[in-house]
């Protein structure tokens, strides 16, 4: 058995994330429209809490995924940005 340190990386390809998002969004019904999605992502991209250009430091989510969900808010501790 491998040890946990050898198993996963925090750096993942855009293809991986896109596939994850597409698969998961097939199960989601409560999603935002493209305009809201793009606006949210713009704010994420400017946020100091965005890690590796993919991941929110406060929830561990890929922002490409979380920003699609209508029932989620931005978890920035000093105040939600969306």
């Amino acid at each position: 058995m491998s040890c946990k340190g050898c198993s996963q990386s925090v750096f993942v390809s855009n293809e991986y994330i896109q596939k994850q998002v597409e698969e998961q969004l097939e199960l989601e019904t409560n999603i935002v429209d493209d305009k809201v999605y793009e606006k949210r992502l713009t704010q994420c991209k400017e946020c100091p809490s965005l890690l590796y250009d993919t991941t929110c430091a406060h929830c561990g989510c890929f922002v490409l995924f979380r920003a699609k969900l209508a029932y989620k808010t931005c978890p920035y501790p000093a105040g939600a940005k969306w």
Binding site: V10, F62, P77
Partner: protein, 493 residues
């Protein structure tokens, strides 16, 4: 409805259940330390000296006896000198084990000891054998525990800590068969002998030295370590995780099948075999059981939550995990003569966590509630217990329907912990209570109608303990109606 039997001889004591079996593990990975415990003094999240208050208050209720830090795999590339002194000057480093995360070292030795003091927990430091030097390890111990004039003690004083800390538990490396150096047991045994030599006892601070142990069922590792270094160790670590689908595709934490429930329970019970067989080897070299078996990483480990970064090891936690935790504790209790510590992996936001956070929100997991319910066993006297229990055979897997253990607290109170591992079938349990006069029985239960019930930020109290009334006294016996997928603690006075 099946029927099972438990016989408890409350007047036959089998030794102390070391409270350290209820230990925890916090590693620098994902949001375990940063975000989960440490938010920094400037954070808008309410905190005490940088430790978030909500998590701290919840953890205090668990009476955590010991906390292992900074890893895990992280320990063998952690250089402690990077994590002391003014935070703004601390070195930013790359945590290569966890994919190149930038580590700002804001949570270091001083912050760790502060957290332990806040929790009332004994610190357990994992030292760096894999990429560190003997000198570095030796100086860390000097920094932490030397009282008087010395280079490291003086440095500690300059950093604001005049008196040394008390440090009892020190691990000489971690998973040295893997992320801690990819060593053979022979090579690590030699290194262990060398490194531990310089883990000094300063003043009256006596260190309990823990050697890096085997990977799951690598019995040869235990044999070699015990043969070559038993006289130089106080504890030997054992790590074992429950992966329903195996290491590569572990399975989902929430959307799992009935067959995955069954394999999870079967793999949980494997812990008993591991302790027995590693213990048998230890008995050969240490028949008096001086050396403790330290299960310093355990828990159910699944694929990460969909949509989250896989390197963060963030998973949800259901009633299945509560049963897994309860069953592990019953196993640890039954091996209280050898198992002297166990540390759940991990404390917050990582693998089988007590607590999940999202920004300023926090939820307690079903596993948290088991730790809280079972804390009555800490440092209590295990009493004799015999089980006559049905075996669940489903989907090609098998496991006992019920596991149990019992202990007597200092005030004479008897606590009986029961787990029904069956996902669907309740049972009537006859508990024959011998050797005890009693007048009062109370109980608490953690259960759910759904096998994947969980707490969420939207519904944080979906799974929580309730008062348990499902029992009746018949003379010296108790007849207990134990629902499927449940964890119960009965208190008998």
């Amino acid at each position: 409805m099946k029927k099972n039997q438990v016989i408890i001889n409350a007047d036959i004591e089998k030794g102390t259940i070391n409270k350290n079996i209820y230990g925890h593990f916090a590693e620098h990975l994902g949001r375990g330390i940063y975000e989960g415990l440490w938010v920094g003094e400037e954070s808008p999240i309410p905190n005490t000296n940088g430790i978030r208050n909500d998590v701290l208050e919840a953890l205090k209720k668990l009476d955590i006896p010991v906390l292992r830090w900074p890893g895990g795999c992280f320990a063998d590339e952690y250089h402690w000198k990077d994590g002391i002194g003014p935070r703004e000057n601390r070195k930013r480093m790359v945590n290569t084990h966890w994919g190149g995360v930038v580590e700002n070292n804001h949570f270091g030795t001083h912050e760790f000891f502060m957290l332990c003091e806040m929790l009332g927990a004994e610190p357990y430091i994992s030292g760096n054998v894999g990429s560190g030097s003997v000198q570095e390890m030796s100086e860390w111990v000097e920094y932490m525990t030397f009282d008087g004039e010395s280079p490291m003690a003086n440095w500690r004083k300059e950093n604001g800590k005049e008196k040394p800390w008390k440090l009892k538990y020190f691990g000489v490396g971690n998973e040295n068969w893997g992320c801690g150096g990819n060593m053979t047991p022979e090579y690590y045994a030699d290194l262990y002998r060398r490194y531990q030599t310089y883990v000094r006892n300063y003043g009256d601070n006596k260190i309990y030295r823990i050697a890096g142990g085997p990977n799951v069922d690598d019995y040869n590792w235990t044999e070699v370590l015990m043969k070559k270094a038993a006289n130089l160790m106080d504890g030997l670590s054992v790590h074992y995780y429950v992966h329903p689908g195996g290491f590569e595709n572990k399975g989902q934490a929430v959307d799992f099948s009935e067959a995955e429930w069954d394999v999870t329970m079967q793999k949980t019970m494997y812990m008993d075999e591991l302790i027995t067989r590693h213990g048998t080897i230890m008995d050969k070299y240490d028949p008096d059981k001086r050396i403790g078996m330290i299960v310093d990483e355990w828990g159910a480990w699944y694929d990460v939550e969909p949509g989250t970064n896989p390197g963060f090891l963030y998973q949800q936690n259901t009633i299945r995990d509560a049963v897994v935790a309860g069953a592990h504790f019953n196993i640890f209790h039954q091996h209280n003569d050898r198992v002297q510590m166990a540390n759940i992996a991990q404390m917050v936001n990582v693998i089988q966590a007590m607590i999940l956070t999202e920004s300023d929100k926090m939820i307690l997991t079903p596993t948290y509630h088991v730790f809280e319910m079972f804390k009555v066993h800490q440092d209590a006297q295990r009493v004799s217990l015999h089980l006559n229990i049905d075996t669940v055979k489903e989907n090609g897997y098998s496991y006992p329907q019920v596991t149990a253990s019992a202990s007597k607290a200092k005030d004479g109170t008897l606590n009986i912990s029961l787990c029904n591992l069956d996902k669907a079938v309740s049972t009537t349990l006859d508990i024959d209570l011998r050797g005890l006069e009693f007048s009062n029985v109370t109980g608490r239960i953690l259960t759910s109608g759904e096998m994947n019930a969980k707490n969420t930020f939207e519904n944080p109290d979906h799974v929580k303990p309730q008062a348990f009334k499902g029992f009746a006294r018949e003379g010296s016996s108790l007849k207990v109606e134990l629902p499927s997928k449940s964890v119960v603690v009965l208190t008998v006075r």
